[in-house]
Symmetry: C2
Subunit: 174 residues, 2 copies
């Protein structure tokens, strides 16, 4: 069973990809990943996500300026598997049961262009639908299926902000 | 059982939200929604998504400059239900079974700020996790759960481009 998940974000261009990469990181956090490695130097992204994690709890980390090849190789050397989400890969629905058996999963999420090497360096290339949509939705669906839907209602320790779900309007827990 | 799903995108600001709204539309399309109503005038978004739909098949529509109140009211008058995705709502996991019983579902997806009225005009306010993440991932998870995972491998008619899934690299069907 998978116990540790991290995300490696490739191809991030500061400015242009800031919002999308922030959404990638927040999605990873909300669905139980431990952190995001960013293969680019962008302190603003780290700052935004750290701010959220500070207020909403948990220990999600963001590491910027990561060398992606080293990150992939270190993860594998440590016994983990590496899954690259790409619309060209094998369908998630056929690969997920096998991936779940691994304790440590690194999910690689590219922006528009990714280095061609990545296809050969990862253990799995997995497509979430074979249609063009969004690395954010691919990551969300992959993490949800990897955890069998069990991470949809995570509670985060040491949160200053906690929502009190309600039918209308907005409510926070004290 | 739900047979028709459309998305209403609120609060879109041209330029700033272009990529996120494009991802919202493409996610809706990839997971089987029929179209997206955009409560803002932005022909560029329509153009990008129409271009994808033209090459990748199917009949996904984008309608821009939509009045959101009229859109919500028309949908309800036509017998559909309206579901607003918001981190403050009731958990998706507890609401989804009831929502699935409806034939026509309009999913409302806001940007950072939404008009306060929306909370009272919709049939359901639903949260996908109670954490801040992304309207793109919320929409993806909601549509996947609404369809019981059945829309993850949709085939689109009249597609010029079709991926031939493979373990390494990129391959298209002839």
């Amino acid at each position: 069973m998978t116990e540790k998940v991290c995300v490696l974000r490739l191809g991030h261009r500061p400015e242009r990809d800031r919002r999308v990469t922030t959404h990638v990181g927040l999605t990873a956090r909300a669905l139980g990943a431990e952190g995001m490695y960013l293969a680019s130097e962008d302190k603003n992204i780290k700052q935004s996500i750290d701010d959220v994690a500070e207020r909403w709890g948990g220990n999600f980390f963001v590491e910027t300026g990561v060398g992606w090849k080293k990150c992939v190789n270190d993860w594998k050397a440590d016994g983990g598997v590496v899954v690259h989400l790409t619309m060209y890969g094998v369908p998630m629905t056929s690969a997920i049961e096998e991936i779940k058996k691994h304790e440590k999963v690194l999910v690689v999420v590219g922006a528009e262009k990714v280095p061609a090497d990545i296809y050969n360096m990862t253990d799995y290339n997995v497509s979430v639908t074979t249609q063009p949509h969004s690395e954010i939705s691919s990551l969300a669906l992959f993490l949800d299926h990897l955890s069998d839907g069990k991470n949809l209602n995570l509670e985060f320790p040491d949160a200053d902000l906690k929502i009190d779900p309600c039918e209308r309007g907005k409510r926070f827990k004290d």
